[in-house]
């Protein structure tokens, strides 16, 4: 039987080490290599910036979805792997959630939202985990283990389907090329093209692909965002062109 899991890590890095997104990417590659599970794209979730939160530089967590026949082995592998992969001085946390097994899905969603708005504690994270023993596996991997808060929150935000942005960016094959939304989606890395108000572009829209485009994560889709041009075509937006509210 196939299971779907969310895997999220936080606080795995230091100022000079590979970032948490790269760490998760390597972990997913190892899971695939071991034949344990197949990872999906990675999303980045911005959490609250606050003096009482001991983040490294930006307080974001990274999450992916993994399909597997053996959830217990995936969790065990991730835990062991992270023990050897995190940077000295970091405070790593890992969270593995099986959404189908959640008793109170709304509680996890609320935890994710709360981590963007107020300071949460490790005890908050453990309390939720204790009430969801069948669905949530949380673990600390060194330092203060503070990363469990962001890891659990990241799973909640990924589960919401409506937060953050996708790791990586789409590159034009030729700068200035013109594509329809379907042609862009067929290249992979993006599932839909919307305007900045969240409305899907019509099938016949002409997208001008000039600069690398940053997909955001909305309605469980990787969404490229475009804005209208004076000539009736649409410009695909790069990260610096995206409205601030769509980036966080």
């Amino acid at each position: 039987m196939e299971h779907t899991l969310l895997i999220c890590i936080d606080d795995t890095d230091s100022l000079d080490s590979p970032g948490t997104g790269q760490v998760l990417e390597e972990l997913l590659a190892c899971l695939a290599e071991e034949g344990l599970g197949l990872g999906s794209f990675i999303t980045r979730h911005q959490l609250l910036i606050h003096p009482d939160i001991p983040y490294t530089s930006h307080n974001s967590s990274m999450c992916s979805r993994v399909t597997t026949e053996d959830p217990a082995s995936v969790t065990a592998f991730c835990r062991k792997w992270l023990d050897g992969a995190c940077a000295p001085g970091s405070d790593p946390g890992l969270c593995v959630v099986e959404p189908a097994a959640l008793r109170d899905r709304e509680r996890l969603l609320a935890f994710g939202r709360a981590a963007k708005e107020r300071v949460l504690t490790k005890e908050d994270a453990w309390a939720l985990t204790r009430s969801e023993e069948e669905a949530v596996a949380l673990s600390e991997h060194g330092g203060t283990g503070q990363g469990i808060i962001g890891a659990l929150a990241g799973c909640g935000l990924r589960l919401s389907g409506m937060d953050g942005r996708c790791r990586g960016k789409l590159q034009p094959l030729t700068p200035g090329e013109v594509l329809t939304p379907a042609q862009l989606c067929a290249r992979g890395g993006v599932d839909a093209v919307w305007d900045t108000a969240g409305k899907p572009l019509p099938d016949q829209a002409q997208l001008v692909f000039l600069r690398p485009c940053k997909p955001i994560f909305r309605k469980n889709l990787r969404v490229a965002v475009a804005k209208p041009r004076a000539d009736g075509c649409w410009d695909l937006l790069s990260k610096q062109e995206l409205p601030e509210e769509l980036l966080v």
Binding site: D16, G19, P51, T56, H58, S60, R167, G168, K239
Partner: protein, 70 residues
């Protein structure tokens, strides 16, 4: 402390906040190290994109030891 930074309880705080892209480009020092693409704000060489900056609610602090304070 310098044209770009002031010493605060949080550390070496960039004086110009989170939206001063020109100042953040001008303030780059010889210890600049680009952060992961996921964490940068654009494609420029800027303190905003440096792995040694630590965002705060209003600005960022420079965490690079021995930063050139010009």
């Amino acid at each position: 402390m310098s044209k770009w930074f002031e010493q605060t309880a949080e550390g070496k705080l960039f004086r110009f906040g989170r939206q001063a892209k020109e100042a953040a480009r001008a303030a780059v020092c010889d210890g600049y190290g680009r952060d992961d693409e996921d964490e940068t704000v654009d494609d420029t060489v800027s303190c905003y994109n440096c792995r040694y900056r630590r965002w705060t609610a209003r600005s960022f602090t420079c965490m690079r030891p021995g930063r050139n304070e010009t």
